[in-house]
Every structure is written in C-alpha cells, then in structure tokens.
C-alpha cells in the first residue's frame, strides 16, 4: 500500500512547476532549474508523485549508445491534485496548515 503523500513545501514547488505548462512533458533537470531543488531532493518527490499516479513518466528515445532521458507530466488526477493543493507563496502554506495538510 502506498502511504499518503506528504505535502512538503518542496513537493508544492514541484507541482507548481508542472502547473506552468500542465500538458507538457518535462525533464528532471528543467524542473530542478525552475524550482531550485537539487537532484537528491527532486527525484524522491518525482518518484513519490509517480507512485501515486499523479505523474506519468516516459523515456525519450535518443541516439544509440546513450541512455534514454526520463520525462514527466501530470496525469489528469495529478493536474486536479496540483490545482487543489499547489498554492504559491507563504499564504499557501498557511492555507494548507488551516486545512490540516501535513507540510
């Protein structure tokens, strides 16, 4: 069973980054640049979101001999979840705290 998602400020940042262009596939490094999160923080978040089917993943075919590049995009459920929860700025954290969401 997948445990409930912990909505940390970093997770909200990632969801915000996806909300900028919800239909587009994104690379891990691009999300890192947009959010300022390091790979050690970003990838566990991406894995958790993908485990909960909030993100779909794909491999971009590249030239032979090079590893494929991983792509991420919000699923319809993920988009709805992101719109419900991803509130930008400090006010967002306060609203989440009032809602009882663990951050």
């Amino acid at each position: 069973m997948v445990p409930p998602l912990r909505l940390s400020p970093q997770t909200l940042q990632v969801l915000d980054a996806f909300l900028d262009a919800p239909k587009d596939w994104k690379y891990g490094y691009d999300i890192s640049r947009n959010t300022g999160l390091k790979s050690g923080t970003l990838y566990p978040i991406l894995l958790r979101l993908a485990d909960r089917k909030l993100l779909e993943t794909s491999w971009e075919a590249t030239e032979p001999g090079k590893p494929p590049r991983h792509l991420y995009r919000l699923t319809p459920n993920g988009l709805q979840f992101a719109r419900e929860h991803a509130i930008k700025g400090v006010a967002g954290s306060r609203v989440l705290a009032l809602r009882g969401v663990k951050t």
């Binding site: 690379y27 891990g28 490094y29 890192s32 390091k38 790979s39 050690g40 923080t41 970003l42 990838y43 566990p44 894995l47 590249t62 090079k66 590893p67 494929p68 590049r69 991983h70």
Partner: protein, 147 residues
C-alpha cells in the same frame, strides 16, 4: 537522471547532480527494502500461534529422531558390514574406514535429506541440520581433545 548530466553546463554542477541522484536512488532502494522487510515480518506474525509452534517443534523433533535413527543404523549396522561381507580381510588395518559409518555416511545422508526436505518439510529438515551440526561439532571436539 543519468542522461541529464549531458545537459548540465558545468562539471561541478554535473558532479553535484550525480551525487544527489545517487543519494536519491540509495535512499529509495533502502526505504523500499526496509518497507518490504517490515511487511514480511508483519505477515509472518500469524505464524507464531501455539498450534503452529507445536507443529514446528514436532517437525524439529522428528528431524532429530530420524537423524538419530540414521546415525544408530550407520554405526551399529554399517560399521560391521565389511567384516560380515568379507570375513577374510582384516579391516582393522584401515583406521580411516571407521570414520565412514560414524561421520561420513551419516553426514552425507543428513545433507541430502535436508536438501530434499527443505522446501516441503522445512522443520524436519531443520531438525536434521541441527543433528548434523551437533554430530560434526561432537566429532571435532572429540578429535581435538583425544589426540
């Protein structure tokens, strides 16, 4: 994660990216291994009911009894077999022959029996392994103290 390294501008940033990615993979694999181990332990908690413990103990004891029977048969029966089959030959001149029925044959039988029974009757197999280890330790202690 790995492919992203080709798109990072500086070497230092690439190194930090790779280290972060490795840490993330390590944390993820440790966490998933720990989670599956905990789930397994929780699932196995149901095995330790009095009925199951009794069944396990009975299996273990029967393994030990079977091993004792094999050992007794080997020592009492097989040890005398060469002299009975070939009375003309003097087997007492071959002291190593004495180890066959006391150690080699029983241990061989124990190993084969434990391997065969391990999947279907694990508790009996454990009893046999326990007997085999006890016999081996006994022989080692005997040999080292009676030199």
């Amino acid at each position: 994660m790995l492919r992203e390294l080709d798109f990072i501008e500086s070497d230092w940033a690439s190194l930090m990216w790779a280290l972060g990615g490795t840490t993330a993979i390590l944390r993820h694999s440790i966490a998933s291994t720990a989670r599956s181990w905990v789930t397994k332990q929780v699932d196995r908690r149901g095995e330790w009911t009095p009925k199951n413990v009794g069944r396990k103990a009975a299996g273990l004891v029967s393994g030990v009894v079977i091993s004792a029977g094999v050992l007794a048969f080997s020592i009492l029966g097989l040890a005398r077999l060469p002299s009975v089959l070939f009375p003309a030959r003097n087997f007492e001149q071959l002291p190593w022959l004495g180890w066959l029925p006391v150690l080699v044959i029983p241990e061989g039988v124990f190993v084969i029996a434990a391997l065969v029974l391990w999947r279907k009757r694990r508790d009996v197999a454990r009893g046999i392994v326990l007997s085999g280890v006890t016999l081996a330790v006994h022989v080692i202690v005997h040999v080292t103290t009676h030199r």
